[in-house]
């Protein structure tokens, strides 16, 4: 076994920025108003309606510029932020090539406005169009748009398109159900509901996925759509999925492939070939775009030509070597967000896809599945660690769900404790599971293609060490973290309105007199 790193997080005891304020300090000054401007229009008071003139200045902090910089740099250092090893399952932690960051910062991308004349946006329109073409090749579908600001937003885009499709056929009032599975990401159920559908959720059966009979029983003339992922977060693949699509199509519904878990199957299968009408890729997961701690992200939404008329507008089109925006789309669902999407992230995904090429994408898929199965050979040897659905034999795809239920039973140590203790060794917390938990004390690591075998071994070594600690000295794990920026949160009822404080002003009001560190 390797020697674990002597990691300790940076601790700055950094006060809140509001607490660093000294009256009169400045981090910014505005340029002087030119005398001609002043002479022509007078002062601001004379130009604004008095009733709406701010009377009292906001209680913002007053700091000098270097102090603001150092404050936020301290906060960045007090964030582990993938500087160690993060195998956060379902999120596909992979390398975000810095060439994408470098180009996003250039004025050719950062300082362009979406309403500029198309002639002045030819470069960015070309890259958006070319990524559309790349994703068409990857999926077999006919058209992609990038307006959705994340995967859930792309699922919502689908639900809105399903709504428009059935309304167009005069069937929306009757077709009010969307079918999904308990292992599909909660956003599928939630966005279907937000778009106005009732949600029918299929539960898992023996094989680790819902049976085709259960789907048949759920489908009816009320079925508007099916929204599913495959493989699921346990690494189990539903081999009947093409049959499912046929069943839903036969009933008049549409089928949406949530490709949240695409890393293990990219280049191995295509949504179109399985019969799907639409799919979604998260560019901030599978296509190398950074996550930013939760966006800006992109849910690339693709569909068949038949549904393309409903796509949110505008759509980027090509005419010879000129690119344009087609905004005149009368059947479009309209917009799910302003403008055409997080364009700088689309460019980063283009760069990633071009750097990888067809070979690289296939290899990334191979390596992510290989690394996951390699992990399993070591993980199942750790006492107390079991694989979900042990009765399902064979290799899993790019991630596997494990249960630490036995560790909890034997020692009282929970997966939350284990997350906290792993962070003491420089490991970003592993993902557990979406609600509801289907196995006790779940963890879901996903190796991906970026992390070296040494990194993966280190991650496993740490889990092994932490489980050993749980058996030898459970209190050490339960009271973790010990090498982090701060200790674990107190068990306070944060859902209590007298306790929660999402702003400093609310906090000061609720705990009057507690302005000094608590």
């Amino acid at each position: 076994m390797t020697v674990l790193r002597r990691y300790h997080a940076a601790v700055w005891d950094e006060p809140l920025v509001m607490e660093l304020s000294v009256e009169g300090r400045r981090g910014f000054v505005a340029p002087e108003v030119e005398p001609e401007v002043s002479a022509r229009v007078g002062d601001a008071d004379s130009l604004l309606p008095g009733a709406l003139r701010r009377a009292e200045q906001p209680a913002l902090p007053e700091l000098s510029e270097p102090d603001v910089l150092r404050h936020y740099l301290h906060l960045s250092q007090e964030t582990l932020g993938m500087m160690g090893v993060s195998l956060f399952g379902t999120c596909t932690m992979k390398y975000n090539p810095r060439i994408g960051e470098a180009f996003a910062a250039r004025p050719e991308l950062a300082e362009v406005h979406p309403y500029q004349d198309e002639e002045t946006l030819q470069g960015v329109l070309q890259l958006v169009y070319e990524l559309d073409e790349i994703l068409r090749a990857v999926s077999g579908l006919d058209r992609f748009v990038f307006q959705a600001g994340g995967g859930a937003h792309a699922a919502y885009t689908f639900a809105c398109i399903a709504r428009a499709y059935h309304a167009d056929r005069g069937e929306l009032a009757r077709r009010d159900e969307v079918i999904t599975t308990i292992q599909a990401h909660p956003c599928n159920a939630a966005t279907a509901s937000a778009a106005g559908f009732k949600v029918v959720t299929l539960m898992l059966e023996e094989n680790g996925y819902p049976s085709t009979d259960a789907l048949r029983a759920a489908v009816s003339d009320r079925t508007a759509a099916l929204m599913v992922n495959n493989p699921d977060d346990m690494g189990i693949y539903n081999p009947e999925l093409d049959r499912w699509v046929e069943i839903v199509h036969d009933a008049g519904g549409l089928c949406f492939y949530d490709h949240a878990n695409f890393n293990g199957v990219m280049s191995k299968l295509r949504a179109r070939d399985l019969g799907f009408d639409a799919c979604m890729y998260m560019l901030h997961k599978t296509f190398g775009v950074p996550k930013g701690g939760g966006g800006p992200a992109v849910g690339a939404f693709g569909c068949t030509e038949d549904l393309a008329r409903f796509l949110p507008r505008p759509v980027v089109v090509r005419d010879g070597d000129r690119y344009g925006l087609d905004d005149d789309r009368p059947e479009s669902i309209g917009k799910v967000r302003e403008f055409w999407g997080n364009v700088q992230q689309v460019v980063k995904a283009w760069a990633w896809a071009r750097a990888m090429g067809a070979d690289g994408i296939r290899e990334a898929s191979d390596l992510s599945v290989l690394a996951n199965n390699y992990m399993e050979t070591r993980l199942v040897q750790i006492p107390g660690v079991t694989r979900s659905h042990p009765q399902v034999d064979g290799y899993r795809l790019e991630m596997t769900r494990y249960s630490l239920g036995k560790v909890q039973e034997d020692t009282g140590v929970t997966v939350f404790d284990i997350q906290n203790r792993m962070a003491d060794y420089g490991i970003d917390a592993p993902w557990l599971s979406h609600e509801p938990w289907l196995v006790p004390e779940p963890i879901t690591p996903e190796a991906g293609e970026m992390w070296s075998k040494e990194d993966i071994d280190y991650w496993i070594d740490v889990l092994e060490q932490v489980v050993r600690e749980a058996y030898d000295d459970p209190e050490l794990v339960r009271s973790a973290p010990h090498n982090q920026v701060v200790h674990k949160l107190a068990d306070v009822p944060l859902d209590d309105p007298t306790v929660w404080a999402t702003t400093w002003r609310a906090y000061l009001r609720k705990r009057a007199g507690a302005a000094a560190p608590v």
Binding site: M18, A44, L48, V346, K453, A501
Partner: protein, 467 residues
């Protein structure tokens, strides 16, 4: 077949692959995909363009392609309309490019401590600008924030109609419409439009009063409005809404709040808006970001679809932490029974905005706001002086104003085409969306526009209309 390791993939070395295959007892990688039936499999290579694996080649390709863009730096741009050219302080860029903020997703409250503190500082400072105590973590955009807020109000009041101004940005309106379900669905939401006064551009209070009723869930209005004007009667709009049991939702541009009254002061129940002006580049619209805030009242808090972060204690006395509050009511907690949905959003931009608000401070926002108001009015005055050019709502706007070209005999498209040859991007054309305003355009002037820039615009326009 690749013979060298790929720079992004440490395990693409053949010996490492073999080592892992040996460990799992598989002879080749193909065996690992046995779960996928053959009839699902794609065989053969993806038909993709040739790989640019060397960064040198990739850099060249990107540089040459993006060189086909023209920028608002080399041109003088007066475009705004939901995406604005404000100065982005260099410190904001330095902070949001830190790897610890750029690359991760979630850790623990301890390992994410610094980022959580930055998020809390975003909410806290925005709360000061808005004079509101409850601020959620950001959403995709202003339009999405408005859509969510209208749905919040509908759930709270159990009513299914929202009143919005006729002057609303068509782009934002299209987003809000998507949030309002169509008639066929059980939870349909109806949008009705309140006229604006043709003289002032402000909401017509008589029309508002006549349209308010016991069906009204919310009155949504904006300060400043899309057409740039300022609702001097904001408090009256709120009062009228409350009189009918409706929620009032104010849409605001926070960069205006050094000089304009905060929504908390005129009594708005919910405030929404953009965060892009607060230190985020336009990026062709990719800088969009939105927020939802309200009074810190349980009735509102329980309807948020966002993730929300609270300051709290750790197990060690005197130590501070940050934890997610009201998680259970989100779609992560309740799937289809949660409030709308939540997911990836624009969290990185909240750190840019936190940095921006810390840099500006109270005096910075006031100075910046006054500068923008004075320069934009200077621009309006100069343009209004031109023959045939008229500023439609000449008094009381923030950074945007409507310029009409009817009496020049030219369309906005004509004018903008001619301006572009002079390296000027004219204002957003309003003539299709607001036919009643004739050949009009929305001009935006911010702190980046000097007097000389504005003089240059006026000179160019004078030439253009004489052509």
């Amino acid at each position: 077949m690749r013979t060298t390791a790929h720079p992004y993939m440490a395990n693409s070395v053949p010996a490492i692959k073999q080592e892992m295959l040996d460990a799992i007892g598989a002879s080749d990688v193909e065996q690992l995909f046995a779960q996928i039936p053959e009839r699902h499999r794609l065989r053969g290579d993806l038909p993709l363009p040739p790989a640019l694996t060397s960064e040198i080649a990739l850099h060249r390709e990107l540089r040459q392609t993006l060189a086909r863009n023209e920028t608002c730096e080399e041109n003088l741009s007066f475009l705004g309309a939901g995406c604005w050219q404000h100065h982005v302080p260099a410190v904001c860029d330095e902070v949001v490019r830190r790897s610890e903020f750029v690359t991760p997703v979630w850790g623990t409250p301890s390992s994410d401590y610094g980022r959580n503190q930055a998020w809390f500082e975003f909410c806290s400072q925005l709360g000061e600008l808005l004079a509101l105590d409850f601020v959620g973590l950001p959403v995709y955009s202003w339009g999405c924030a408005a859509g969510h807020a209208i749905r919040m109000a509908s759930r709270m009041t159990e009513r299914r109609q929202a009143l919005v101004p006729r002057s609303l940005d068509p782009e934002r309106l299209a987003v809000i419409r998507t949030f309002c379900e169509p008639r066929e669905t059980a939870s349909h939401l109806d949008l009705r439009f309140v006229d604006f006064d043709p003289e002032t551009g402000r909401i017509d209070l008589d029309d508002l009063a006549s349209k308010l009723g016991d069906e009204t869930a919310a009155v949504y209005f904006e300060v400043p409005s899309y057409l740039g004007t300022i609702e001097a009667d904001a408090a009256e709009i709120v009062r009228l809404a409350h009189e009918h049991g409706a929620e009032s939702i104010a849409g605001v541009d926070p960069i205006s709040l050094g000089v304009l009254s905060p929504p908390g002061e005129y009594g708005a129940d919910i405030a929404v808006g953009t965060i892009q002006p607060l230190g985020v580049h336009m990026s062709c619209g990719g800088g969009a970001g939105g927020f939802i805030a309200s009074r810190d009242d349980e009735r509102y808090a329980r309807e948020y679809p966002t993730l929300n972060l609270s300051i709290c204690d750790t197990v060690v006395p005197g130590e501070r932490g940050f934890g997610i509050t009201l998680f259970h009511q989100t779609s992560y907690g309740l799937r289809e029974d949660g409030n709308d949905w939540t997911g990836n959003s624009t969290y990185l931009w909240s750190i840019a905005a936190a940095t921006y608000m810390s840099l500006l401070g109270p005096r910075g926002f006031e100075e910046l706001g006054e500068l923008i108001v004075r320069r934009s009015h200077y621009a309006a005055a100069l343009l209004d002086d031109l023959d045939g050019v008229r500023v439609v709502f000449p008094n009381g706007f923030f950074k945007e104003f409507v310029v009409n070209f009817d009496d020049t005999g030219k369309t906005v498209a004509d004018v903008n085409r001619a301006l572009r040859t002079r390296r000027i991007f004219g204002g957003k054309d309003l003539s299709r969306d607001f036919p009643e305003l004739g050949a009009s355009a929305l001009y935006c002037v911010t702190e980046v526009h000097t007097k000389d820039d504005i003089d240059r615009l006026a000179g160019a326009l004078q030439e253009v209309i004489a052509e």
